[in-house]
């Protein structure tokens, strides 16, 4: 097994991306994700890669669009306000069926908000962000190890399903250091374009021209592309859902949480178990596709659900949908960069157990 190294979450993303064969990074400075850019700025020139500080987040996502069109693995990273600027680009990537990795290390909002950790871009990531009917693959890490692992997965899934993927982390995940074992399977970036016959790499006068495009002025054609895309989404939903279950076997209360709050909730669950409260947790790892099945299954056994999140109840809605509102879905939340303490979560769990 490879050695454990100590890294910040943001650095783990960058290194894992390089291992995954990404040699193109475009970004614009914004807290709390700037370490990704700093790491890439240092590393890319040494390995024949491209680091470019773009003039704006808008330019960055469009540079990503260009490289992805050329069939190569490419990424950008930003934090909440910057992701809003990338919204149009995300829609174009989705509409042109282009794979890419976009990292959002979330901070409190709305507006300029703050720079402390948040999960309040959940809706933006899973429901929209840009215009039109589309999805991003949304992966959400809960440790520095997952920052690395999910980065690799994000590239693989993006290529497999020809769609952009987003690593949706909260600021804590980006800033904290933990031991991490980096992925061992190094991807040779030169092998990637050959797997993408649709890429605009130049015809070499040997084939008809490839066009990367999201414009379809004939409504029936546009409708067809939408249906085809959603067939892919259906396959994604069926095959790529990921989640972690923790002490769910005999649970009567099901906590649902991601990222830093899942870590806090784990501490609270350990404490609650000591008090004899039968509580467990389902931690989604993919937010799109959302792990509806395990939640629906849990709904037949537990008395109630408790989402622990850093927003005003965004994932809460998806849990309600997943279980068809068959059980109460309550919430323990803090916003604006505040994080609930384990004691606060424990108190909320006790309330559920009553």
């Amino acid at each position: 097994m490879a050695d454990k190294v100590l890294m910040k979450g943001n650095e783990a993303i960058a290194e894992a991306a390089i291992i995954a064969g990404c040699r193109h990074y475009f970004g614009y400075p914004i807290t709390p994700q700037t370490e990704v850019a700093a790491y890439m700025a240092k590393k890319m020139p040494k390995i024949g890669g491209v680091f470019l500080q773009a003039e704006s987040e808008i330019a960055a996502i469009n540079m990503v669009y260009g490289v992805s069109s050329a069939g190569k693995r490419v990424m950008t990273s930003s934090a909440s306000p910057g992701i809003s600027l990338k919204g149009e680009g995300l829609s174009y990537l989705a509409g042109s069926d282009l794979p890419a990795l976009v990292v959002n290390v979330q901070r409190g909002g709305p507006g300029l908000g703050g720079i402390q950790p948040s999960q309040s871009d959940y809706f933006q990531a899973t429901k929209g962000g840009g215009h039109g009917d589309y999805h991003l693959i949304v992966l959400t890490p809960s440790s520095v190890q997952e920052m690395a692992d999910l980065t690799s997965l994000a590239f693989d899934l993006a290529d497999k399903y020809r769609m952009p993927s987003m690593l949706l982390a909260d600021g804590t995940m980006g800033q904290m250091m933990e031991p991490v074992v980096l992925p061992e399977d190094t991807v040779d970036p030169e092998t990637i374009p050959a797997t993408k016959p649709w890429a605009t790499t130049g015809t070499q006068m040997k084939r008809a021209h490839n066009i990367v495009n999201s414009l379809y002025l004939k409504p029936d054609e546009l409708e067809k592309t939408n249906y085809e895309r959603f067939e892919r989404y259906a396959k994604l939903e069926k095959e790529e859902c990921r989640w972690e279950e923790y002490l769910m076997d005999d649970a009567e209360v099901c906590v649902v949480s991601v990222g830093i709050t899942a870590r806090v909730a784990k501490n609270a669950i350990v404490a609650a178990r000591k008090e004899g409260i039968k509580v467990g947790m389902i931690r989604p790892i993919t937010l799109y596709p959302f792990p509806k099945e395990p939640l629906a299954k849990a709904a037949s056994k537990v008395k109630s659900f408790l989402t622990v999140e850093l927003n005003m109840g965004q994932m809460n809605e998806d849990v309600k949908l997943a279980i068809n509102c068959s059980k109460p879905v309550n919430m323990c939340n803090r916003v604006g960069g505040m994080i609930p303490s384990a004691d606060e979560v424990l108190a909320a769990i006790r309330k559920e157990a009553k």
């Binding site: 454990k4 190294v5 100590l6 807290t31 709390p32 720079i115 600021g171 804590t172 800033q175 904290m176 250091m177 933990e178 031991p179 830093i260 870590r263 806090v264 784990k266 501490n267 350990v270 994080i339 303490s341 384990a342 004691d343």
Partner: protein, 179 residues
């Protein structure tokens, strides 16, 4: 055993770095750990802290609500964190910078004039490493000798010339505890 350490003071005192060295030492010893900084717009002079958890068990939340080790290098930090320390915990106070005494009676307190000691060693910026030496000597959360290895591996090439001084500072902190 789980050591939940908060190191707090002004930005520029090297608190994030001493936390990193402790975390790195834990990594070398193959312990479970997490390191979480406060981050903000202030680069120098503002309040600053980091949370380091070193444990034999996997780390749950990296956020520390009740530290059992507190290292403070300014009075606002002592004011902020004193009441959060778990009963039976240990507080390390830079007594050269903090005039008041710890009010809690259910914790152990080590007063160490680290900033004065650092000044005397002509290494003013290394008071953090003196206290780190004291922490590991007293609590053995990691083997104190591992700190030396961790320092060698952590100090950036740009500051390599400062390695010896850092090692001396750690040694001074350890000697202070041994008395």
């Amino acid at each position: 055993m789980t050591y939940e350490t908060i190191m707090a003071g002004f930005g520029g005192q090297g608190l994030l770095f001493s936390g990193k060295v402790l975390a790195h030492a834990a990594l070398i010893e193959n312990k479970e750990l997490s390191w979480l900084p406060s981050y903000g717009p202030e680069m120098r002079g503002g309040t600053c802290n980091c949370s380091v958890i070193v444990s034999d068990e996997p780390v749950g939340s990296p956020i520390i609500a009740h530290p059992n080790v507190l290292m403070v290098m300014n009075e606002p930090s002592l004011d902020k964190f004193e009441d959060t320390v778990a009963p039976g915990g240990t507080i390390f106070v830079d007594s050269a910078l903090i005039g008041r005494k710890v009010r809690r009676t259910d914790v152990e307190v080590v007063y160490i004039p680290a900033t004065q000691m650092a000044k005397d060693m002509e290494a003013l910026s290394l008071a953090n490493m003196i206290i780190l030496g004291a922490i590991v000597e007293k609590l053995r959360c990691v083997n104190p000798d591992t700190i030396e290895t961790a320092l060698r591996e952590t100090i950036s090439a740009r500051k390599a010339s400062l390695l010896d001084l850092n090692l001396k500072a750690v040694a001074a902190g350890r000697a202070f505890i041994r008395g």
